[in-house]
Amino acid sequence: MSDASDLVLDVKNLKTVFFTNSGLFKAVDDVSFHVRRGETLAIVGESGCGKSVTALSLMRLVPDPPGRIVGGSVTLEGTDLLALDDAKMRAIRGNRISMIFQEPMTSLNPVMRIGDQIVEAVRLHRNLPVREANGIAVEMLRLVRIPEAARRAREYPHQLSGGMRQRAMIAMALACRPALLIADEPTTALDVTIQAQILALILDLQKELGTGLVLITHDLGVVAQTAQRVIVMYAGKKVEEATVEALFAAPKHPYTRGLMASIPAVPASGVAAQARLNEIPGTVPSLVRLPKGCAFAPRCKLVVKRCQEEYPPLQDWGGGHLAACWRAAEVAEEVA
């Protein structure tokens, strides 16, 4: 284990709620995690589990109203971001912490040249002459392996393909060499061959620059191929945390287990035609009317009376493998 000075991001008991006309919506409920220098932490979960709101909370970009961060701390390089005023936060956002989104087209300004957008991002945080910032922009585009970077810098977003646009987004996000990069489903909108290119690129750059990475995804395959550590979220709560190896070897939470069993895999040889998949019955509960006790209980095969009454605390199963389940010890044997 590395010491605390290595810590880039430390999130403690983060709570973000939404006040909606159907009630209180605990999008992120008491979530803690940390990221070290050069480390990749994946946050996995299905839609509505709170993974994207977690990302927005880190950036302090939760739309208010209806959302509000109501508790916890987000410490980036020793500074609690939640305690900063807006001006100080703006100085950090895009500079020490930056984010790339799922849709590269909508995250780029359609009427500005790619290069100028990077220049703008750089000059916002660093007092540089335009010429020098221009140089950085081209260099960044080269860094994300865009061929003919100098020419591409003068093009508009619509002239680039989806994969190139996501590269440009990454160039912009990394232009100020942030300590932490948040990638919210960065490859979900891309084709699989392009996804492989982009993921490889992100990992390469991370190694080169030593950036901490929070990768938000729904795809366990992406997690296994990219992350060192994983947290699994369900209905706003962290239900499991482990190293990638430990999680895939022996998941401790029935939800993680179910998720792994339900993903279709590209078959190796000798798979019977038309294999039924293991499914998790039911649907994700509405965050407004969460059941008492464990939110996964209504869909869980291992459910006992206690699950419906008390929310299970996160328990350490050794080596930092945390799981919030009353029957975590039995998961490996019984759910398969």
């Binding site: 839609s47 699989v192 993921l199 366990l220 895999a265 038309q274 039924r276 499914e279 649907t283």
Partner: protein, 328 residues
């Protein structure tokens, strides 16, 4: 599984690209560029490819939702390519479609029951109490409760909405259901439920699926045979097991290698192809994949490889596989 239910021969769909004040044609989008395949009764053919490869256009052409530029579509031996709207109507009963986006494919102002019952009403197959009973039965078949018939689409979750779409497709007891990315908008745990439902329904009713998807793993689970498309053409088609065990086209190989495996010990994120899919407006000459292919030869730039049989039922369109097959 004997006679062909659907037979598509040399299907083409070209869209003109117009520009300027005079709307003069400046180019042609080769959305589908000579696609042939057949589908047997009770069989599932998976059609995979990346965005812009023309797989959805193939789906819509088969249903005559878009008019093919040329080629032939035969349903049950009858040529339906040029039938008029009225002539086509009876055939519409035998082919149905399930779309990708379960949010946009249901009319937000109709109840779920009305949506599922609509095909029956349109074809005058049932009305009143009988219609209601039929719809209730369809609801049960797809795993919805009949008491949900009065609810509006926004009251259902994504997976439930896709079930409504499936029930609507089942209503006319079709022989062919075209599934256009039916699970790609759904969450992983819900995806499995819908795939299982589709498999179960096929076992009960014996219809055929033309299953369009970009996700190889999903296709692998549901299909009997798989066709891989690239820039408007089928580059490889084979039985599922054969295709995954022994992919012959470099594009299929790259596609398979790009899928991230949910196993941290099998780290292998080394992209096998560089660059992006070229524009279908002016696709590359010769083999359309030569711009990204690791094995591209000089010949690939000029010669367009035909889809030929390389092994038993395994057809590939690649010059590398020349000589391995019988017809080459």
């Amino acid at each position: 599984m004997s006679e062909a239910l659907l037979e598509v021969t040399d299907l083409m769909k070209h869209y003109p690209v117009r520009a300027g004040v005079l709307r003069r044609q400046v180019g042609t989008v080769h959305a589908v560029d000579g696609v042939s395949f057949s589908l047997r009764t009770g069989e599932t053919l998976g059609l995979v490819g990346e965005s812009g490869c023309g797989k959805s256009t193939v789906a819509r052409s088969v249903l005559r939702l878009v008019e093919p530029t040329s080629g032939q579509i035969r349903l049950d031996g009858e040529d339906i390519t040029h039938l008029s709207k009225t002539e086509l109507r009876p055939h519409r009963r035998s082919m149905q479609i399930v779309f990708q986006d379960p949010f946009a494919s249901l009319n937000p102002r109709m109840t779920a029951g009305d949506i599922v019952g609509e095909p029956l009403a349109v074809h005058g197959l049932a009305s009143g109490k009988a219609l209601e009973a039929r719809v209730a039965k369809l609801f049960e078949q797809v795993g919805l409760r009949p008491d949900q018939m009065g609810n509006f689409p926004h009251q259902f979750s994504g997976g439930q909405r896709q079930r409504i779409c499936i029930a609507r497709a089942l209503a006319l007891e079709p022989r062919l259901i075209v599934c256009d990315e039916p699970v790609s908008a759904l969450d992983v745990s819900i995806q499995a439920q819908v795939i299982n439902l589709l498999i179960d329904l096929q076992r009960q009713h014996g219809f055929s699926y033309l299953f369009i998807a970009h996700d190889l793993a999903v296709v692998a689970h549901i299909s009997h045979r798989v066709a891989v498309m690239y820039l408007g053409r089928i580059v490889e088609i084979a039985d599922k097991d054969e295709l995954f065990r022994n992919p012959r086209h470099p594009y299929t190989q790259a596609l398979l290698a790009s899928v991230p495996i949910a196993n941290p010990h099998a780290k292998r994120l080394t992209p096998l192809v560089d660059g992006d899919v070229p524009s279908p407006v002016n696709p590359p000459s010769g083999c359309a994949f030569h711009t990204r292919c690791r094995f591209a030869m000089e010949r690939c730039k000029t010669e367009r490889p035909a889809l030929v049989e390389a092994a038993n039922g395994h057809q590939v369109a690649c010059l590398l596989n020349e000589g391995t097959g019988r017809s080459a």
